[in-house]
Symmetry: C2
Subunit: 512 residues, 2 copies
């Protein structure tokens, strides 16, 4: 390590998940140590250290020759005052990269190896490209079931864990891929109204047109501190907030920040990601929703069953009571796709509006019913009717309003969609035999969702509906002219619907 001291300086640059250090090109330490721009260095101060990627500076107003600058995240992590003495040296590559290279060669890794990888990732010893190497390697040869267990456990053990001091803490999770599938916003108030603890946090959309957190944001604040969250959950038995502020299974967030932009997705990583987060959040009982359909993430029943077994295996080993439901993923759920339109659907169901989308209502009641049956005092088979009573009686909407108030109600409520819109109409008489989940999600995103909350798609026709030539199938809403035009071009290319005969509709092999 260089014995020369540098003076710590905070550089007002936000580099998100990546620590960056700044050294002046004429700094003697930079020259002596033979650092290169983008190489990884260790910065030590008073026995503590952080790792950062080096940027070389030619401007003394950013850092002077005797200073070491840190980006905001790195500065916060080192947790020292500006002006203190720091020393720097080359960071050695993470030891666990040996295990990653083993995986690249197709070998099986042990729990200890997965743990060392997870630990090094949490400690910021991995660059994004090292994480990408791990993800591609473990996605490609696909992990065997013991490895999925090891990875899940490693991701769980390298983060904090919540303890609610209750025997029954329930949660639900859908593996995703179905637009408009906002059941959590119904399930949480119903289950919490039944008195069960459901401390569910949600994500924002990354590749989809809306996440539960984006839709909930039409009604209430979702960006809460861990303390606020804790208080709301104790008071209301449930919440509908963004989960990004907690430090549960932190490896997962880091891996997702690489996995999503790469557009890669592996079964083993998905299961480890879901289960490590839920276990860390202190859940004792978990319901997993796997939608199956020709344009869903899971396209065949055999695939859904093998995924179910993998979930069950890992869940059983890690001592969580886990149940999997395989649901109908042939088309979007509800009518709206995009934050405002989805919020409208949800509130229609909660408020028992006769126009409420029946599929969203039914699916939510089924899921809530299964969660309620985790309650030992509820007789098997009674969950659904308890859930329905809670919804019909107005207790669900009452609980939803209480949660909204606790999180911070928005001043005005409006689900009005973007003022620029066009309708996509059927080119023939017939029956809707296919709605492409991927294309509908793509249209909603191109129209501006989730960034523009009022952009999205409103479906007028669903599978099995009869249509006449020229009759509108759905309406696309946008807020900006350019988005409107992009969405229109996309629809001209592929409307995402197929019209045919009723007997061409693919059969759903699932209960709900």
């Amino acid at each position: 390590m260089s014995t020369e001291n540098l003076t710590l300086r905070r550089v007002g640059i936000d580099t998100y998940h990546e620590n960056v250090a700044y050294l002046h090109r004429d700094c003697s330490v930079y020259r002596a140590e033979g650092f290169q721009a983008l190489s990884k260095i260790e910065i030590h101060a008073n026995g503590l250290y952080v790792l950062a990627v080096l940027n070389v500076v030619d401007d003394e107003s950013i850092v002077k020759r005797n200073e070491l600058g840190l980006s905001e995240q790195a500065f916060k992590q080192l947790d020292e005052k500006e002006g203190c003495n720091v020393q720097v040296n080359h960071a050695e590559p993470a030891d666990s990269m040996d295990a990653v290279r083993k995986k690249i060669n197709g070998e099986r890794l042990t729990y200890e190896e997965y743990y060392s990888i997870a630990k090094d990732i949490v400690d910021n010893r991995y660059s994004k490209m090292e994480m990408a190497a791990f993800l591609v390697a473990s996605g490609q040869t696909s992990l065997d079931r013991d490895e999925v267990l090891y990875l899940t456990k490693a991701m769980l053990e390298t983060g904090e864990k919540l303890d609610w001091k209750e025997a029954l803490v329930v949660d639900k999770h859908c593996i995703g891929g179905i637009p408009g599938n906002r059941t959590s916003m119904l399930v949480v108030p119903i289950v919490a109204a039944h008195g069960m603890l459901i401390p569910k946090t949600s994500s924002r959309a990354i590749t989809s047109p809306s996440g539960t957190a984006d839709t909930m944001e039409m009604l209430a604040k979702v960006n809460l501190t861990p303390n606020q969250l804790n208080e709301i959950i104790h008071q209301e038995r449930g919440c509908l907030a963004w989960g990004g502020t907690a430090k549960l299974a932190p490896v997962d967030d880091k891996l997702i920040s690489v996995e999503r932009p790469l557009g890669i997705d592996s079964r083993g990583q998905m299961i480890a990601s879901i289960l490590s987060k839920k276990l860390a959040a202190g859940s004792s009982h978990l319901l997993i929703d796997i939608p199956v359909g020709p344009t869903a993430k899971v396209r065949h029943m055999r695939e859904a069953l093998s995924l179910r077994k993998l979930f069950e295996f890992v869940g059983d080993q890690l001592n969580i009571h886990l149940e999997v439901v395989i649901t109908d993923g042939r088309q979007p759920i509800g009518r709206g796709i995009g934050p405002a339109l989805e919020a409208r659907d949800v509130m229609q169901v909660l408020e028992n509006d006769p126009n409420a989308p029946e599929d969203l209502r039914q699916k939510s009641l089924q899921l809530a019913g299964r969660l309620i049956e985790f309650d030992p005092d509820v007789r098997g088979g009674q969950g659904y009717s308890i859930a329905r009573d809670i919804l019909d009686s107005g207790r669900a909407v009452g609980k939803m309003n209480a949660i909204i108030d606790a999180q911070g109600r928005l001043e005005t409520r409006s689900f009005e969609a973007g003022k620029l819109y066009f309708d996509v109409c059927s080119k023939e008489d017939g029956t809707v035999i296919e709605i492409d989940n991927l294309q509908m999600a793509h249209i909603a995103r191109i129209a501006g969702a989730p960034m523009d909350k009022r952009a999205g798609v409103d479906l007028f026709k669903k599978l099995g509906d009869n249509v006449k030539k020229g009759e509108p199938l759905y309406r696309v809403h946008a807020e900006f002219n350019s988005d409107y035009q992009f969405a229109k071009n996309l629809c001209n290319n592929n409307i995402g619907y197929r019209i045919g005969h009723a007997d061409q509709i693919p059969t759903s092999f699932v209960a709900f």
Copy 2:
């Protein structure tokens, strides 16, 4: 795209191979477009654009609210003046990432797909993690031989090509892994003295204790502009400079900047890397050196043969006259490991010093002989003796001095090794039966090579030498106390030598 204009500003931060853009957090474009730190954006000015990773700034002395800052590389690439108007928008992911995902799923790619990947990488559309995904995917399932050809061609076609306007342009390349293997510094002067054109450029060490460019830097400047290089090559028929300034097969440099830190290595990538560079450099005839040994990159003869065939297949398809020699890679070549010690060995051979290491001399003569036989006027089998005549007569050292003078001779010549040193001695009587290439390279690196040019290892004993208990096997030189100590600890752990009986020495199956 945002229609709002920002003012371009150059930010004095060097971010090496990665373009970075800086926007103030309160900049209206940043807010309206929903950018995130580390997301990729496009910066447009007067019909041109660059791609960059976004950093968010909280300090108006770096960028003001109406400014867009670019790091030095990005600013240079955009090639516009400070103060001009720029617009920004989200960068779409590179289209060719679809092909990368196909490869991750184990599919075979076409030439068009490899070309689109190479083109997007050259155009800076790939982040480091996307390149890592491509490298791991194509390393893991391993490319078939047509794919190696496609990748090589794609890497070649996306860069510039040199044309020397001569029928015979020779080059040599070793796949690496053997410490002290500085044959290029002998082969180039011998072959150039014979009058053949050998425009060889060399790399610096990335994971080894010294590259040819590092060792040559003990004698002359190696960091030359493409124009200087061109002039020297025309004048001297050869050179020994660093190749980093040319734009030959630029994809290769970008991939290597990811591959090396990850420590991954695949056959297909290696062949594409070597051949695309050599073809771009205008070589018509190429000699490839594959050392084989228990601690070399290639450990078995069958592996060396299959690698040879792959080189030959791709070379033949791309119209380069290629020959492969399989050489003895059981131990380091010469005595010194590290820039100063290797330069000493090389000059001893060139100056016909009776103490010159015979193995370095013999290997260099063999390789130079093979290259000389590419000359149609040389009778088959005569190359070696022509090479030896050139070396023995002093014409080789004369040519070397001319090259050194042309590149820029260092004022003082000294091969003295680092003043801190210790000897590692044999613990028993016997014969040296193994010298671990990897461990010896590791010791030299830990001692400070190649950064500290006088650090390294000096071997006193080689395979087959008899030793007495307590007799020194090698000496480790360092320049700094801490490095000295680290190297000592490493040697205590594993000296890298094994002593036994002469009949335990692994047989070399190769000619030289």
